[in-house]
């Protein structure tokens, strides 16, 4: 009886620790008369504070999975629970607010606005949350400090290197203290030195503030820096790369 109670408590602890849970998640695209399955009944859990990589060959469904979990796309079937919220019950506008409050994104392309300075790019999501100017500027500077670009706050993207622009994008992703940071091949356009810097920054954020990070990458050596690799092949989770 005692043994059973401990098991139940362990399961409950595990459930509380789980920030992302998917059950039988599928995404099928219709192209003319063809049906193409990009994800097939994917079931996985990601724990709070975990730094996980999604890896697999090109076309294996890595980005598609990240888009479903990041609420950028809607799955054809299956269930996603994020931070104890069942996502299929959310309207589009609720998903937008959910993304603003709980997620941070870093894209392969730097994806920052060329018309704004580094600081303005970073504080935009905080401004959209309704913070006062003093609050969002302070938080923006803190975020830039974290990525080592405080002295570049007033520079515009065209005055910065690719690696610096990606770090601005990371600072923007961090400003609202997101529950999950999604990164879609964040180093694909960077040289090896800048790539290393970005990955070390992710590692430090994960280690120092317990940031949950889910990153799509096709670089095998990135597996060494993450806690766990979720391998995908033909839209399904597999034990190792096939």
């Amino acid at each position: 009886m005692m043994e059973r109670t401990e098991r139940v408590e362990q399961v409950e602890r595990d459930e509380q620790d789980t920030i992302i849970a998917t059950r039988n998640l599928s995404r099928t695209y219709t192209m003319g008369k063809m049906q193409m399955t990009a994800l097939n009944r994917v079931t996985l859990d990601v724990r709070r504070g975990e730094f996980a990589a999604i890896m697999g060959k090109s076309g294996s469904g890595k980005s598609t999975l990240l888009h479903q979990l990041g609420l950028l796309d809607t799955p054809t079937e299956g269930e996603i629970v994020i931070d104890e919220v069942e996502i299929s019950g959310l309207s589009e506008s609720e998903k937008t607010i959910f993304r603003l409050e709980k997620f941070g994104y870093v894209f392969q392309e730097y994806a920052i606005l060329p018309e704004m300075t580094a600081l303005e790019n970073v504080y935009l999501p905080a401004m959209a949350l309704g913070l006062s100017r003093e609050e969002y500027v302070t938080k923006g500077m803190d975020a830039l400090e974290k990525v080592g670009l405080a002295e570049r706050a007033d520079h515009r993207p065209r005055e910065m290197s690719g690696g610096e622009q990606q770090r601005v994008a990371i600072a923007r992703a961090l400003i609202n203290k997101p529950k999950i940071l999604f990164a879609d091949e964040p180093t694909a356009n960077l040289d090896s030195a800048s790539s290393r810097q970005i990955l070390e920054l992710f590692r430090a954020l994960n280690r120092d503030i317990g940031q949950t990070i889910l990153m799509v990458t096709h670089e095998l050596e990135d597996a060494d820096i993450v806690d766990r690799v979720i391998w995908l092949a033909d839209g399904e989770v597999v034990d190792r790369e096939g």
């Binding site: 888009h67 990041g70 950028l72 796309d73 506008s93 937008t96 607010i97 993304r99 603003l100 409050e101 997620f103 941070g104 994104y105 894209f107 994806a111 606005l113 060329p114 018309e115 704004m116 303005e120 935009l124 999501p125 401004m127 959209a128 949350l129 309704g130 006062s132 515009r156 923007r172 992703a173 609202n176």
Partner: protein, 403 residues
């Protein structure tokens, strides 16, 4: 901060950044296009308003002055017009009066003749209410004691490029003698003392003799067919009418628009033309802004996708494009007004357009400028809304990574 205030603030911030830090050449070009769209909307209206204003001024300056006092319906003449004039001449705002006879007559010169109206005036009084004395192109105006002398409009004289040359006397010059047959059967010969040109075909069909001369023709004394009253402002003649009645004027008192049927006809036609050209102008301006914003949204499609991905609401993005379009339109209206007031209005003052109602310059009415500005801004807001709303309808993935 309320969510609406926050959304407005973020929309304004995005719009400001896109305009201020975007491509300066594109911004200036867009504003120039808006300015030209505004000028296009305003120009035709200003010409029509200028024509209406010119016609009104001609009616006042060369035909009826501001107010006309006429005999009551059953009467032919106003008895003792001086007593009427004495009642009103000291009313503040009344500048001058001219009691006069008006009668039809046939004027003949050599083999040609025609029927025109002859006005008989006191030349000194007439100078207070009419600009005709200043518009002599040949000879000179009447003097108080002139007898058997007449001045005629260029449409009667002929030979001065009038619009109805074939009905004129065919080229009368100063010094010629014309024969005038009055409606009471009296025929008299008159020496042409002067020929005038008001640039207005209606007043160019008039002839003038002195009041004393007409009284000798009609065999009456101290009467008048009408009294013209000049006031210091145009457009508020109504305020004098009650005052005149209170001062004991029992005749019919009418403001100039009652006689300006031509103005009403022109205004009605111009309003219809204005509405048509305005509708087309708004449509063209709207399509122009739509294209400008559409090109902008297409080029910023990925950026809009990223903004949505990071949690910026669609409504904030759409509103930022509406703000941009409204900004372009407001700047366009201001630039358009500058073009109108600094270039076009001075140009047409220097080189007026010549129409049958006189020289026409552009008249920019405040009401027209406000309604057209408002129309252009609303068109811009709609044209800013449609393409951005359409752009945020597509999925985030299509916006960021689509073709």
């Amino acid at each position: 901060m309320t969510s609406t205030t926050t959304e407005l603030k973020v929309s304004a911030f995005l719009a400001y950044k896109f305009i201020a830090k975007g491509n300066r050449g594109t911004t200036l070009l867009t504003i120039l296009i808006m300015a030209l769209a505004f000028v296009n909307l305003m120009f035709t209206t200003s010409v029509f308003d200028g024509m209406g204003d010119a016609t009104e001024n001609q009616v006042i300056d060369t035909l009826y002055s501001n107010i006309v006092i006429e005999p009551k319906d059953e009467e032919i003449y106003i008895n003792n017009p001086d007593s009427v004039v004495k009642k009103i001449i000291n009313v503040p705002g009344v500048i001058g009066t001219s009691a006069q006879y008006v009668t039809g007559a046939t004027i003949a010169y050599k083999e040609k003749s025609g029927a025109w109206n002859i006005r008989a005036v006191d030349p000194d009084d007439e100078r207070m209410v009419s600009l005709v004395p200043d518009m002599m192109i040949e000879g000179e105006y009447l003097s108080k004691y002139d007898r058997r002398e007449i001045i005629i409009g260029k449409e009667i004289a002929g030979g001065h490029g009038g619009s109805l040359e074939h009905t004129s006397l065919g080229g009368v010059v100063v010094g010629d003698t014309v024969e005038v047959a009055f409606t009471n059967g009296v025929r008299r010969e008159y020496r042409v003392k002067g020929i005038f040109d008001t640039n207005f075909f209606q007043s160019n069909h008039l002839a003038y003799i002195t009041k004393k001369e007409m009284e000798s023709v009609l065999g009456i004394h101290d009467m008048a067919s009408q009294i013209l009253v000049k006031t210091d402002t145009k457009g508020d003649e109504g305020r004098f009418l009650n005052q005149f009645v209170e001062l004991g004027v029992h005749e019919d008192i009418k403001p100039w628009p009652v006689y300006a049927g031509i103005v009403a006809t022109l205004t009605k036609s111009f309003d219809a033309l204005n509405a048509l050209t305005g509708a087309i102008g708004f449509f063209v301006a709207g399509v122009t802004i739509f294209i400008v914003i559409y090109v902008s949204t297409v080029s910023k499609r990925r950026q809009m996708g990223i903004l949505r991905a990071i949690g910026i609401k669609e409504s904030i993005i759409v509103r930022s494009y509406i703000f941009q379009a409204v900004f372009y339109a407001v700047c366009g209206c201001i630039a358009g007004l500058v073009i109108m007031f600094a270039i076009l209005v001075p140009h047409f003052i220097k080189h007026p357009m010549v129409f049958p109602m006189g020289n026409v310059t552009l008249l920019i009415e405040q009401k027209a400028a406000i309604t057209r500005s408002a129309g252009l801004i609303i068109s811009a807001a709609i044209a800013g809304f449609l393409p951005s709303w359409r752009a945020v309808r597509e999925t985030i993935l299509d916006a960021i990574w689509g073709d």
